[in-house]
């Protein structure tokens, strides 16, 4: 379908597609099998300027928005969402600085992130704080010209691999949700170490680790915005990043559809290619319908979100939920179309099926997304004067 992209947007899309095809697809199975971080591929992405897609030009980026980010992410995801997640997580880690950082912070970090010289990460989750973000226990205590951090972050994407971490910590326990703040922590800061690398079901090319802060002392200038802004920054970051998770879903679904159709055209049973059987055709049709619908939603929503609308939270949540559910459904059906071969590691749909599951979980579970949408509907309709029945 024609989505009326600009020349520059098409350029981003084509380049990401080329990298996915030439550099990612040939090694994705090996990265998955060895649980190997895609350092070389990230270097290629850096050299291609793709890390700068949504960073302003004044900081060395390309000055694009959410749509440009989604276009890049979707194409990378078509080959491997483990690699695409590592890429996208750097953008996620950069958003708090990009949205709320001081001029000095932006100048210090964004050019390196845009150039892909330094990878970023976003650290909110803890063992006792998943969907309930307000339950975080990592603390940051002001001490003279420093903040001292203590606590452990869990399941941090790019943990150990990234150089720059946006970390949420409690600065005032008495203030509840208004008592948390974001800090920039750098790899190498005293008292900052990494826990074990997690062994995961899917996206095994991505690195997921604990971040351990033991009297980790950082300069007070690393506080992002003001104390107490932590949750607002987290929410605004998610408004920007969740369409990107949707784009991961669209790319993954498309990648699975590509393989399922190609296979169905070649696989002969009962003397005919199985794509001539209606049972298979209908499966493929449903997969294509859902994938295209998810893509249309993501692109339209991304354009809308680039205007900073008041309903950003709801729309961003819709992207994340719909496209990630789509990816799970489409990859499940792709395995079914390939049958026994689909279950084997020789074909990529086995990995895609395993990979898809994380999209329904990370960056806010799909249940939490539906909560956001439902609560927003309640508020929206509560404000309306009109009645419908």
């Amino acid at each position: 379908m024609n989505y009326f992209l600009t020349d520059e947007q098409k350029m981003i899309q084509e380049l990401a597609e080329q990298i996915a095809r030439e550099k990612i697809r040939p090694v994705r199975a090996q990265l998955d099998e060895a649980e190997e971080f895609p350092t070389e591929i990230l270097k290629v992405l850096a050299q291609s300027d793709l890390f700068g897609v949504c960073i302003p030009e004044e900081y060395g980026g390309l000055g694009g928005g959410i749509l440009e980010n989604c276009l890049a992410v979707e194409q990378l995801a078509r080959a491997c969402i483990g690699v695409a997640t590592s890429y996208a997580a750097s953008g996620l880690g950069a958003y708090p600085i990009l949205l709320y950082g001081s001029e000095a912070q932006k100048a210090a970090y964004l050019p390196d992130i845009a150039a892909g010289k330094r990878l970023a990460a976003f650290a909110v989750t803890e063992s006792g704080a998943g969907s309930d973000v307000t339950a975080i226990r990592t603390t940051a205590v002001k001490d003279g010209d420093s903040y001292v951090l203590n606590g452990t972050k869990q399941w941090i994407t790019n943990g150990g691999e990234a150089d720059i971490y946006s970390v949420l910590a409690v600065t005032d326990k008495t203030k509840g949700p208004r008592g948390a703040s974001f800090f920039i922590v750098e790899k190498g800061d005293p008292g900052f170490t990494f826990g074990k690398k997690e062994k995961k079901l899917g996206i095994r090319a991505s690195a997921t680790r604990e971040l351990v802060f033991q009297d980790c002392r950082i300069p007070k200038e690393r506080l992002i915005a003001r104390e107490g802004m932590g949750f607002i920054i987290a929410m605004k970051t998610f408004d920007k990043s969740r369409p990107g998770i949707g784009a991961l879903g669209v790319g993954l679904a498309q990648g699975a559809l590509d393989i399922a159709v190609e296979y169905a055209r070649k696989r002969i049973q009962f003397g005919k290619p199985i794509i001539t059987f209606q049972a298979i055709q209908h499966k493929l049709a449903d997969m294509a319908i859902k994938t295209e619908a998810a893509r249309a939603l993501i692109y339209a929503a991304a354009r809308h979100l680039d205007t900073d609308p008041p309903d950003a939270g709801k729309v961003a949540a819709m992207c994340k939920v719909f496209a990630s559910d789509t990816a799970m459904e489409v990859t499940t059906e792709a395995v079914q179309v390939l049958g026994g071969y689909g279950y084997m590691r020789d074909y990529p749909v086995e990995k895609m099926f395993r990979d898809a599951k994380i999209l329904q979980i990370y960056e806010g579970t799909n249940e939490i997304q539906r909560n956001i949408i439902g609560q927003e509907l309640n508020k929206e309709y509560g404000r309306m004067k009109e009645t419908f029945f």
Binding site: E8, M11, L15, K23, L62
Partner: protein, 263 residues
């Protein structure tokens, strides 16, 4: 330092046609790609540029559509490009091609280093590089797998030959034809892609490079393709399997049955 990379657009091997009259490859209307070895030449030039700084110019001779190949390499980081295109250049053999390229290199002026791919995958001659160096009267090294710029502006290259590796030192200016070992061609970058889209690619014709018509194209060619044909199919081949001693025994029996003299 000024570096020139010579590239060639070749027909995508999947759909090649041959003109029944001239017996040369029909390039118009066939999907073209950059000769894969030339992309390695571009990469070698860009790596030297990354390390030492340089101005890299891509040069190609071909029909107007060859501009597409030049824009591709511009998007990978080549600084500028020149297209040699003129009806008079058509039908050139390797010598007439090298003649035109040499004239263009002279016009560019002050070129320290020229990179070419080891050969083009359409003609497979591997002649244009050496001929270009000969016409420019500069030293050249073929089948190079590694290039380093040493002190005193000398070039150190490692050549891969059938007999083994050779390490050569060349004074500049020089020409090098490279193998795939020099490093994987980089992908384009968005910023270079945008620059490449807008870049002016000058087209130089016969008059621009100061050559006469009898020295280029079909007229300037010493060779002419008389006939193109598929080589006769080789006789049936059999693969021997099993342990070596068994294979030797089988081979011996086979040769004996074939009545090879002396057995």
């Amino acid at each position: 330092m000024k570096i020139v990379v010579c590239i060639k657009q070749v027909p995508d091997a999947k759909n090649v046609r041959i003109d029944p009259h001239t017996h040369t490859l029909v390039r118009q209307g066939v999907e073209s790609i950059i000769n894969p070895f030339d992309l390695f030449a571009v990469e070698a030039a860009l790596r030297l540029k990354d390390r030492h700084g340089a101005h890299v110019t891509a040069l190609t001779m071909g029909p107007p559509q060859a501009e597409e190949a030049l824009r591709d390499v511009l998007s990978r980081g080549v600084d500028d490009a020149v297209l040699l295109s003129d009806r008079a250049f058509a039908g050139a053999d390797t010598w007439a091609t090298a003649t035109a390229l040499a004239a263009a290199v002279r016009k560019l002026g002050d070129v320290s280093l020229i990179f070419c791919g080891k050969q083009a995958v359409d003609g497979d001659t591997a002649q244009v590089g050496p001929e270009l160096a000969t016409l420019l009267d500069i030293p050249y090294a073929t089948f190079v797998k590694q290039v380093e710029l040493g002190d005193e502006g000398r070039l150190k290259v490692v050549r891969k030959t059938d007999e083994g590796m050779e390490v050569w030192r060349l004074p500049l200016p020089a020409l090098v034809t490279v193998l795939r070992d020099v490093g994987d061609p980089r992908v384009p970058s968005i910023k270079h892609k945008m620059r490449a889209k807008k870049a002016a690619v000058p087209v130089w014709g016969l008059a621009d490079v100061g050559l006469s018509e009898d020295r280029v194209g079909l007229k300037g060619s010493f060779t002419q393709v008389v006939r193109v044909f598929s080589p006769p199919k080789r006789a049936d081949r059999r693969m021997l399997e099993g342990p070596v001693s068994e294979q030797v025994e089988k081979l011996f029996q086979f040769l004996k049955e074939a009545k090879v003299p002396g057995l």
